[in-house]
Symmetry: C2
Subunit: 295 residues, 2 copies
């Protein structure tokens, strides 16, 4: 069982529009609602892959209710800890040739709510093979939250994948996660070269570099994995990669296999219109096209 943690879960509202006239009144042609937040994108990809997954984290208010309803509809098992605050929305303006994200800040989480989440988390991780820690922390959650959760996972014997940014990522490394998945921007903000992320606490590091593909440093070697040229919506491509890495960790795949699947699933996600979605046929077609090179 893979558990995904989404502390700043969201309701993703995508507005399909031929164009947005700034400073004017625009009619939205098509509205698409989805559970959002990186951890929920990972959960959705794993569910589509047929991999047993449980989504947990924090949800509150009417937006939280809408997210729960959408997860039920999608058939994704969820065990979220309730909070008083209103979960955030993210509005995506999807024009044919550009995508604009508007991210609400998220609710304030109280110390009691955080303790209550920790109690739920300890219970859930007792049966987890792999735990995925993804995304931003809402106000009120301690900045070292991912360190705390990673330590709890190691005690419970579960593997840990961390996908975060800034201070939550830096602190999370101290929890010694099995795999850290920064993108180029996150790595730059961390101020470390890729190999140094391993010395800072991670067993392996996989850097997603957009169309340049993946760069991995692991205990079994270092590789790049490059997909064919793909155009589309890059939102959620990193989450698809994390889902593949979670599968690989759960089933003890070789690193070359993890990277091939990760690069292919990520490229298939770019082709899909919304984050957390992909066409299995596209994924299968891309798999043999990934170029893996040892460093």
């Amino acid at each position: 069982m893979i558990i995904t943690v989404t502390l700043n879960a969201a309701l993703d509202i995508t507005y399909g529009m031929t164009s947005v006239a700034m400073g004017d009144t625009n009619r939205v042609a098509r509205v698409l609602e989805r559970p959002g937040g990186k951890g929920l994108n990972v959960a959705r990809v794993l569910h589509t892959l047929g991999e047993p997954v449980l989504a947990c984290g924090l949800l509150g208010g009417g937006t939280g209710e809408a997210v729960r309803a959408q997860l039920t509809l999608a058939g994704i098992d969820a065990a979220f800890t309730p909070i008083e605050g209103e979960s955030r929305r993210t509005v995506v303006l999807a024009e044919p040739d550009r995508t604009t994200l508007l991210n609400e800040p998220g609710p304030r989480v109280t110390a009691d709510e955080w303790q209550s989440f920790l109690a739920d988390f300890h219970r859930l991780t007792a049966t987890a093979g792999v735990v995925v820690l993804s995304g931003s922390l809402p106000p009120g959650v301690p900045v070292n939250a991912y360190e705390t959760l990673a330590v709890a996972c190691r005690r419970a014997g579960a593997g840990v994948i961390l996908d975060a940014d800034g201070e939550p990522l830096r602190h999370g490394l101290a929890g010694r996660p099995d795999i850290v998945k920064p993108n180029a921007g996150e790595l730059f903000r961390l101020g470390l070269p890729a190999e140094a992320v391993r010395r800072a606490g991670a067993t392996a590091v996989v850097v997603s570099r957009g169309r340049d593909g993946l760069l991995a440093h692991t205990p079994h070697g270092s590789w790049t994995a490059t997909p064919p040229a793909i155009t589309g919506n890059p939102t959620g491509a990193g989450d698809a990669l994390v889902a593949a890495l979670a599968c690989g960790l759960a089933h003890d795949w070789s690193w070359p296999d993890r990277l091939r699947h990760g690069a292919a699933l990520s490229a298939a996600a770019v082709r899909a219109e919304v984050a957390g979605a992909f066409e299995p046929a596209t994924y299968r077609a891309l798999l043999p096209q990934i170029r893996l090179q040892p460093l």
Copy 2:
């Protein structure tokens, strides 16, 4: 008692942002939620004026629940007919020097739901002095809805103000409303000169022309009413004008008074940050500055 009808009620979500980078990820600095839709803006202005008002219309889904909660919070009496569909949201991107509206299309209303609204409406109008019919019709509501409602009001002895666009406005004129309030664009789309709107069915017509102020043709004469130069957010200025006209109709003010109050309240609304809001002090200060000219 003034009743406002909002058939396509909305949850207005305003995102306060220093700037929006299109094609990129943006953090929203400030989120403000309000009941939206023109009829609810009118209701809010009337409530602030201390005028007894009841808001009715159609509401459904989680967004509908959020609108109800906001109305309760604002102390506005409401008697909405429930529908199965999800009420729409309107997202307002408020940058310091421009305002962009993103309007969702609204829920589909079934024939049964429309009949159920009509039954509620007949009951409510028995005690109404003035009924305000404002805004767009959601899919499924007959295009001649405003004609049907205006005729029902006249039978019940209530005055009627109509503020609509396109075909709902054209059909609504056949219901012979007391006042029609198009803006310049709506009048243009109607394809009639202002005076001809009276011949098409309205007893009086008041055209809102932005910074050029009001143009009115009434049974008691024709006037222009011009406010001093004002800068701000014009969203909701027309709704403030309609609120003043509803007050004037309810209390049988002279036309010059209706237009003076309408122009001043409308200008005060431009000064306020969000639709449906105004500063009473600004309104009072603007009142003697309105220039009224007979035509």
